[in-house]
Subunit: 375 residues, 4 copies
């Protein structure tokens, strides 16, 4: 294996910094794999790019992302720009022979996501999406518990994803309320719980959705009010293969919820629950405990839940949100090295986006949509 | 006001004992109203009836409930028999000029519920249903918080009701898996969250439901297996008047859940959550707290939440499930005395049962059902 | 066994009503034992006594408690007056041949508690104290778990008891701040955690205590301030027999705590925790679970934890604070009937009060006090 | 300010890796300050040193820590070796003109800690200790809440620190059970809660301690058993200046506790609680909320709690244990740059160790020890 890998980073906002921290930390945390060489950083203008490159430890900076993609030292490109740019950048990077690590979702329009998946196929390069929540060692453990049959055959699943950044009805209208940004909570949020379903159970089979608006309009900077075009709330019924029934509720205007992704998995021998707001623990109920002593166990993340052990040798000390990205980065490097890796690549990601668009169609048509027929 | 009221009790199982405890305790707890005279108790046979009458403190016992209804000393009848008997008994009692306190739901078939409501109208007597969860002082407080506008205008509601008495796939087939018992979780459970919606928000406007079976069949006593005819899981989308969107999930095969009725109410200025498994507390998030100090408050039941104060003068000491029935009993006595009372009478209860049947129809037809059109 | 038992009740405040509710409910809940005949009620004046007798269902009422004790129909006397009256009333009742159910603590002065215990011995009657927290079915279950060795050999115990009724520094000075009422949190609260220690582990062996005052003075009605004479906070180290070390913290000025009695029991194979504010659940950690799946189980009260089943046949529905008194009443009746009973009688109660006085002495002398030497 | 700073790291175990991750990440997280140049790493042998240097990104490696200290490129030295080596290494580094970042505690013997503090004074260099828990943005927020008077005047404090790495009685005897390692939980753990007390309230004034052994002996590799010489449990009463009373309980054999550091702070207007096992939240109870709506608020870490915002722009997403070390590293760099910094330097750290030794003396002598008299 090569001892280094050249990294390019496009975008330095929320997720851009998160990628930068991952590239800075991955080798020290895991000890194995190539050393990332932070080669090139692109931002909207050269000056911002240079400042961020200094902060994040990148060698070169540019205001033109095409320069970064043309840089022969760059072997893998982190794309963390707004969703509208993902397709163009990812396809260009893949065509230039780079591996791509692109933030989710793939694109606003399904056709663009399809073009991205096709480009990945043509290129033969690794192309994965930034679904960091699946990297939580406890989500991995939940998958292991399910695989062992500890809670028996699963028959019902519930997911909730809620935050409150759109909860203030008097916050100024901005692009997330415009139809051009997508459906609203459905694509903004829904892809995350869908990524958890995907990694734990595989693709959804059919969906029924209802989208709603908590606020009909919002104030604009000039003192007027503008109609809200997106749906901050989405309520979904679904079925997984094998007839597992499910409920999914999404709300980006849910006061008090900051990063809630609540999961409930019911099986014939037990139940698992999890909440991302306390993501260093999950709950497990099993019927093998004595009847008078049965209860939901709160299990704290520990070295027994790899790769927690790569971060901290002591149990219960807690990983952070940014650590999940370091794990994701390491899985990307494993995939690039041809090793088995826990990633959502462009193919699988396309399936998730198809489910989102099927949900939107279900809402419009007021009926169940079968995903197989949509594919 | 008369200083006593004659009580008859039909049925002495789970709810029968609960009624008996309420009739024994209501005067001592509240201090006001008539003293219940425990006049007559009916059970399936005279011997059982006599034993229970002795335990519960009733004067007379009978194996024939019609005798109880004919007893001139009996002024109000508690009906706590299996659902299939409610209609006949309640109608007979009302026609005999008795007030009726009947356990929920009214009946398996909607037509029977309609007959019960009609009988109540004709009789001019008080006829209420045993929706005890609405009597929790904290549910009353939640209503008060909503009424004060503390969390602003409500835009989204979620409810879950889960228990695990049907969770064991190897438990023997019994009547709750037979179609003659109803739909399954939908009517067995759904009426409870619907009673909370009713008391807090009024009737639901439209519904979409999906029913599912965790287990296709169950063992029978003779070693064979029999197909399950009811749905232990129900997943429902709904809308309240004013466009409030909602999600309701019901599961009577949810391992580890013992008496969960979880409620989440999202408004433009805050959020309320509640779980019946910890029914002496609720959570309130409001945006009027300082930004760096905002969080869900866990509020313990206290004398500030009447009628908690009638049970315990100290805060945080906890009411019990049976205490809710004592409150319900007191509200019944208030209604009989012509005072304002917090009860679900047969008319309102009929609305709840219509919603349940509309949900079942929605499941069969795979489409939204508008409740107005159903009425 | 006699089919009835005549009951007298002295005092109708917080605990008086609690006793009344227990006497009203015990037969209906448990089904067995004699039917309580509510014969006589005493209060400070005849008018109040008559009103309460009507509310609570007592036949006769008096403003002179000695009349009640002289009543030949009264076989057992509930004493729920302020602590200063316990000794005189209990001794008089015992000498009149009545059984006694007296609220805790026995008396302000140790010498009075000793007189009470001596009177009980002389009388040959049953004399027990109102330590209701030990009656919680889950405390019983915790004892069972300990007895089974599930958490191995216990090596460390922590208890906290906190409420906030003395937390407001601007609340008017009242008798609980006067030295004549006792030490403060130590006797007001400390006896409760000590009753739990007693029932689970037996008597404490030695103690070290520190008492403190959150507020030096409090306002009086005339606008002045008066020095506080009691200690609202008590911090205690102790040892149980066998060298089990312990910590106990008591605070009746702890804002936000309403009825907290938190218990942590550490053993060689596991840990148990409990909090009275959520007294329908306890937590159990055992090392026999798989390492990656170990965690504190939250176990909800259920019919498997007798006598929960006597109140409710379904798990997780929750007992109330007043239900604990009904259980205590039933245990009293069992003791009177000569059956094994879970009670703290005057002898055992005296041991608890000795521990309290030893703690106060430790505070004054700044040294460990050995309970054996004190006895 | 110089744009870089040369870093040496001695030790690469638990804390060594934690320091390495901090040095790798601090510039990218905070954006300001010098860029750390990872110059030199020392381990027990050259081969291990070279492997770790490659993993952690250090330029040079050595099996002789004196070489590292002699390296002119090294400006600051991270010392993460076992406690017994701290004094020698820290003094050598300070005498060589390096800044020192040493893990806690300073030394086993108080005299060594005193020598370290003296060396720091002589050198004029920055010398700080690795008390990472004080760096939690929510501990900073708690300090801010206290400073604002939100909970009024504090009158009582409780701390608990519990883990279970010594909980298995059948785990082999190892050096932590030898007297040469120190007192046991007292110095192993106690310094952490003391660092929180220090940062929030200043030094403790007097202490009373009791140390205990859960297990008298432990098995050895040869099948024998060896007496345990240290105390895995410590129970402490203390007073802070101004008469604030406190309780501290430490247990490193507490099954199920993984990283618990529980804090309860009671004031005249409210209460604060915190638990390190859920260190991205704290609880606040204030009396300014309406009586019927008062409750403990659970406040999630958010950008309003700096420097959380440097890691994640969204609230409630969660920092990790290693992130606290990055904050500590940044505070060290600020102190080196002459800016105000939140650190525990050798002087303050010496005060903490004096408190620990006073506690041990209190245990031996069975009396209160006044810290002023000890200093």
């Amino acid at each position: 294996m090569k001892s280094t890998i050249g990294v390019g980073l496009i975008g330095t906002g929320y997720m851009g910094k998160c990628h930068a921290l991952a590239w800075n930390g991955v080798k020290a945390v895991f000890g194995d794999g190539p050393r990332p060489v932070l080669a090139h950083l692109a931002e909207v203008d050269g000056q911002t790019a240079r400042r961020r490159a200094d902060e994040f430890g990148f060698e070169r900076a540019t205001g033109d992302w095409r320069e970064l993609i043309a840089d022969p030292e760059v072997e893998v490109v982190s794309i963390t720009t707004p969703n509208a740019f993902h397709a163009e950048m990812a396809i260009a990077a893949l065509e230039a022979g780079k591996h791509v690590w692109c933030e989710k979702p793939m694109a606003v329009a399904l056709v663009d996501a399809e073009r991205m998946a096709a480009a990945a196929h043509r290129s033969g390069r690794v192309a994965i999406l930034g679904y960091n929540y699946i990297q939580n060692p406890l989500i991995r453990q939940i998958g292991h518990v399910l695989g062992q049959g500890t809670i028996g055959r699963v028959n019902h699943v519930r997911l909730e994803m809620d935050e409150d950044f759109m909860a203030d009805p008097e916050a100024l209208f901005y692009w997330k309320s415009e139809a051009s940004s997508g459906y609203g909570a459905l694509d903004d949020f829904g892809v995350h719980p869908l990524s958890l379903l995907q990694i734990l159970f595989g693709p959804v089979a059919r969906v029924f959705a209802h989208l709603s608006k908590p606020y009909a309009d919002r104030p604009t900077a000039d003192g007027a009010r503008r109609s809200v075009e997106t749906f901050d709330i989405a309520s979904i019924l679904f079925e997984l293969s094998g007839g597992i029934s499910g409920v999914m509720a999404l709300d980006r205007s849910a006061w008090g919820r900051k990063g809630r992704i609540a999961l409930q998995i019911f099986g014939s021998k037990g139940t698992i629950t999890f909440d991302q707001e306390r993501f260093n623990e999950f709950q497990l109920y099993v019927t093998s405990d004595k009847p008078a002593e049965q209860g939901f166990r709160t299990i704290l993340a520990a070295p027994q839940h790899p790769p927690y052990d790569r971060f901290i040798p002591a149990p219960g000390h807690g990983l952070g949100f940014n650590d999940l990205k370091i794990i994701e980065c390491h899985e990307l490097l494993r995939r690039i090295a041809g090793e088995p890796a826990r990633v959502i690549d462009f193919d699988t990601g396309l399936g998730i986006e198809r489910a989102v668009h099927a949900m939107a169609r279900s809402h419009r048509e007021g009926r169940w949509i079968n995903l197989d027929q949509e594919a």
